[in-house]
Structure formats: C-alpha cells, structure tokens
Amino acid sequence: MDEARRMLKVYRAIDNDHRLNILAVLSNEPGISFNDLAKRIGINRGLLAYHLGVLKRVRLVRCEYERRSKKFTRYWLTEEGMEIVRKFKLNENDEATSIKV
C-alpha cells in the first residue's frame, strides 16, 4: 500500500504539462539554473518555483545552491526522475537512440 501511495503521488506530480516540460528540459540540460529554466519553460517564475517544489517533494528533481554574488540554484533529475523520463519517453534523444537500435 505504501509503495502504491508513493507511486500515486508521483503520477499526480507528473500529470501536468508544465512539470513534464520541466523534466524534459532537465533531461537535456542537467544543472540548468532557475532563471534559464524559467526562460526555457516560458512560465511565470513564481509558478515555476511551485512546480519545482512539487517535483522535489516526490524526489524526481534535486537542486544545489551556489552562493556567489547572489543566491543561485541549479537543478538536476534524480535517478527516479531519469527513470520517469525514460519510461514516458520525454527525452527526444532516447527515442532517436531506440530507433537506431
């Protein structure tokens, strides 16, 4: 039951176009900064902060803070995040590779 509930949380988290877009971008550009991600996804920065929060909460995404001149955050997929990207074919390169094979 616990595992089923956990998977249900993951499915709820990714049943959203913006969050799927975020996963797709992160699979192509690991370590992308918050500001660059906002430009790539093309949504309000506040809303992006929320969507990233949902994805972090279900452990599909992780972030690292860099303190230079100001607060700066970079984002990566976790192992589970990569698994989801592969399972639902979110990365265009994955499909190209499988077609070649």
Partner: protein, 179 residues
Amino acid sequence: MEERIRRARENIRREREKLEKRIRETCIIVVLLGAEGRGLEKRREIREKLEEEGILALIPEEDFAPDIAPSLTEEALLRRADVDLIFINVESWGSATELAQFHDEEHIAPKLRVLVPYEHHPIYGSSTGYLSDLYLSHLAKYGHVYAYDDSKRSFFPTSERIILTLASRFRRLKAMGKV
C-alpha cells in the same frame, strides 16, 4: 515537444487511473501556510503526517525554489497552480497579511481553509477588530473558518487534527469524483 508531452500525459493519466482504481484512493496537493519558528516546526510535523496518508503537502518556505521571494511564489501559485486545498494558520502578522491578500481572490478563496485560535474566532471568541471582521466576512461568504486550540485546554480541536481530518475527507471525496 508538445506532441511528446501530450502522449506522455495520456500514458501517465492511464497509469494513474489504473492505480487509483486498484487502491481506491487518489492523491491531492495541499499547501500549508503559517508562521515561522514554532509554526514552521508544527507545519513540518503535519506535512509528514499528510505524506504518510498519501497526500502531497508543501510548505512554501521550504519546498519552493528559493530563487524567488515566497510572497511572489504564493500569489502566482495560489491563483494558477493545481493545488487542491490551502490551509492557512493565522498565528502571526505575516499569515494575517496573506489571508487579507488572498481571502477575496475568486480563484483562491474557495480553496482556503482558515485556522484561527478559538479566542479570535468571530463566532466562538470575543475579539473585535480588523482581523475578526475579516474572519467573519470570509466565514459568511465562503465558510471554512475553523477555531482551534493547540494548548488542548478547551474542547476545540488542534490545528493538526483539523487539517488531517479535512484533507483526508477531501481526498476521499475527490476519489469518488464528488469534488
């Protein structure tokens, strides 16, 4: 890219519905707003209990990207995100300001569940002033203003009990397609 996302979304929806049917549950997203300090600790404890119940619970100060001020994040998300319920525990001037900001936003107000210390509740308490008046207006227009007592010295439930009870029932209603 759009076609890829659309196809992925269809597959995810299918898997999600299959799982929901099997375990007869669904997952809702709730946001917990409140004070810093002890208020934040309390919200963390509640978040953990909600997560055990299979509810995705978020605390803006901790869970949202820190690159942007929480107030900007909250305003955007409360208006446009796919949040099911927003619990706001009015225990500081900060959370009172948030309530004043959100209580009459047409996209936000129906999702708001306002928790008020019983002595300040417009029906059960005896406080007067701007905030009590705001609670009363919200109560009259939308309902969902709950009196609590975390000291457990009165018959009022704790804020934790109110949040867990309402979130669990809402999740069940959503699983049955009633909300």
